[in-house]
């Protein structure tokens, strides 16, 4: 586990130096920050919970037990698990290749794999439709065969894999870059194969990073809206994710139904965020 401490070394230093310098009283700037954050972040979040419980706990639970809401939550969770798992594998592999091998075109490839962070999600949805949809570049050939990935759970998964791809990569790659190759070289010298080295030396050092990356991916997938709304077809009990359910119910004026699911999503993301903080903040 000793290698886990390395990425956090800088955090430790920062903490140390802050303590050494005498500070002016923090209360004025802190108070100002809270005044700014109150309407920007804290009050909107509070509103979701206040509205959710406005009709009482019974109404809140009844709104959650609507079959559509149950399906939407379950479907979102399943997609999030699948996305986290698949991007966990592909992201770790991508990070390993990009960190351990030097090859021409490495920089452009590095940029491409991080691109989804910058692309608007609605553009991702459009581009998937224009590739896989019935009038798309590939979909045109698949459609006559009866293959239609868009507007199915598979299409939603494709969108989520695209949108969340960089999160795994960006947590693992820095760890790999910092992980000293001497450990791996030592493993080779005692006759370990490349695979054995990865499995017994590299991977254990990445465990915390993989967990963090998977949680980040999971959280983003759970809340994904922009790409999903285009590729899912928004069918209740089929392809309607929790964020789409919230949007549809809000549009239809069923604020209570929308809010109950919104409160659950918010609570889930708080829990995930809490674990992220635990693992990255004092992960030693």
């Amino acid at each position: 586990m000793s290698s886990m401490s390395r990425p956090n070394r800088s955090a430790g230093n920062r903490r140390g130096s802050a303590g050494a310098v005498a500070q002016p009283s923090p209360w004025l700037p802190v108070g100002m920050l809270i005044v700014v954050l109150l309407p920007l972040l804290l009050m909107p979040l509070a509103a979701v919970f206040i509205f959710a419980f406005r009709g009482g706990v019974g109404a809140f639970i009844a709104a959650l037990l609507i079959p559509d809401a149950q399906f939407a939550l379950r479907f979102s969770l399943l997609i999030a698990f699948a996305t986290a798992f698949l991007n966990g594998l592909i992201g770790t592999f991508a990070a390993y290749v990009l960190s351990r091998y030097r090859f021409p075109g490495e920089r452009p490839l590095n940029i491409v794999v991080n691109l989804p962070v910058a692309i608007p999600t609605v553009v991702v949805g459009t581009s998937l439709l224009l590739l896989w949809g019935p009038i798309g570049l590939l979909g045109r050939w698949l459609d006559p065969l009866g293959l239609q990935p868009m507007f199915t759970p598979f299409g939603v998964l494709l969108a989520h894999l695209f949108v969340t791809f960089p999160y795994m990569l960006s947590t693992i790659k820095p760890l790999l870059d910092e992980l000293e190759t001497t450990y791996e070289e030592a493993a080779y010298t005692i006759g370990a194969s490349r695979w054995q080295t990865f499995w017994y030396v590299t991977l254990p050092a990445l465990r915390g990073g993989i967990f963090t990356g998977a949680l980040l991916t999971f959280a983003h997938s759970l809340g994904e809206f922009g790409a999903t709304v285009l590729v899912s077809g928004n069918l209740r009990l089929r392809t309607q994710t929790a964020p789409l359910y919230i949007f549809a119910q809000f549009e239809a004026g069923n604020i209570a139904a929308a809010n109950a699911v919104a409160a659950v999503l918010a609570a889930l993301s708080f829990v995930i965020f809490f674990f992220l903080l635990r693992y990255t903040g004092n992960g030693r």
Partner: protein
Amino acid sequence: MKYVTLAPYLRNVIPLTLLSTLALYALWPWLPFTREAIAPRTIVFYGFSILGSVMEQAIFPAFQAQWYAQTGEQVEFISSFAGSGTITNQIVMGVPAELALLSLELDALRLSEAGVIDAESWHDLPERGVVNRTPFVILVRPGNPKAIHDFADLTRPGIGVVHPDPLTSGGANWAIVAEYGAGARADPDRPEAGYDLLLGIWRNVVAQAASARSARTQFENGFGDALITYEQEALYDQARGRLQAEIIYPQRTILSEHTLVVIERHTALAQRELIAAFVQFLWSEPAQRLFVEYGYRSVYEELNRANPQFGAIHDPFMIDDFGGWPQAKRDIVEGIWKDRVLQELEQ
């Protein structure tokens, strides 16, 4: 690995337990021992936005009960409700809709132009595909402080009108023909009467929303003095004691007609009988009565007496009075509203 202390052990156990609980919850309906033995039959139905409540609360359950009584089979409805233009675009892009109820025939025409359905295939359905109707009315603030009694009052200076945007909203297209038609029919001898009323109302438009539904939200949030919208939406809220406005019935207004299309290439052969039964059900008396109960006007005039909320309209008219939607779109929405009214307002 050295020795296991309790704290780090717990640190892994808590998130892992939570995650597995979540996974179990998510997978629950699909686990082998929780699955229903017989998968129910399904109908994939897309509808324009205001239809959501009547379909989900009344029409679907009634048909499920009828089909179960007849065949012993469970039917499940897989549905999606959004703006008429939005669902039309989704169907063109390939969503697996078997049936779609659109807010105006123009969207059905777009589907046939895209090759999704046969041209005018909906005309072979009962009532040429029209499932129900609702007139366009004016909503004003409680007590009607600005004394608005007809479309003509909306042209007075100082009145703010909230209107959906005809580029994206089906309801807005209906509203424009309602406004133009009300003017033209009030003064049939003067050719510019329709244009004048339309221009007068549009001088006072203070907010344009993407859909009829969002225009209503803007109005409810305090924008403007009047909103032009579907009667059904207002009646639905009135029946539930939620209407924070008064309904004003214009002397002359249009009845919007909502068109059903069957997307045959998405219906498997085994589905044909079920789909046909549901289509027939929509025009059956029990279904039409349900529409009336939810504030839609039935295609069978005699059923409309059952809802005392329906207001009287002196001179109701239909899109066919303007030669049908293709002609009305070209002549009124494009030719008059877009090319003349908007041009005039820009100057």
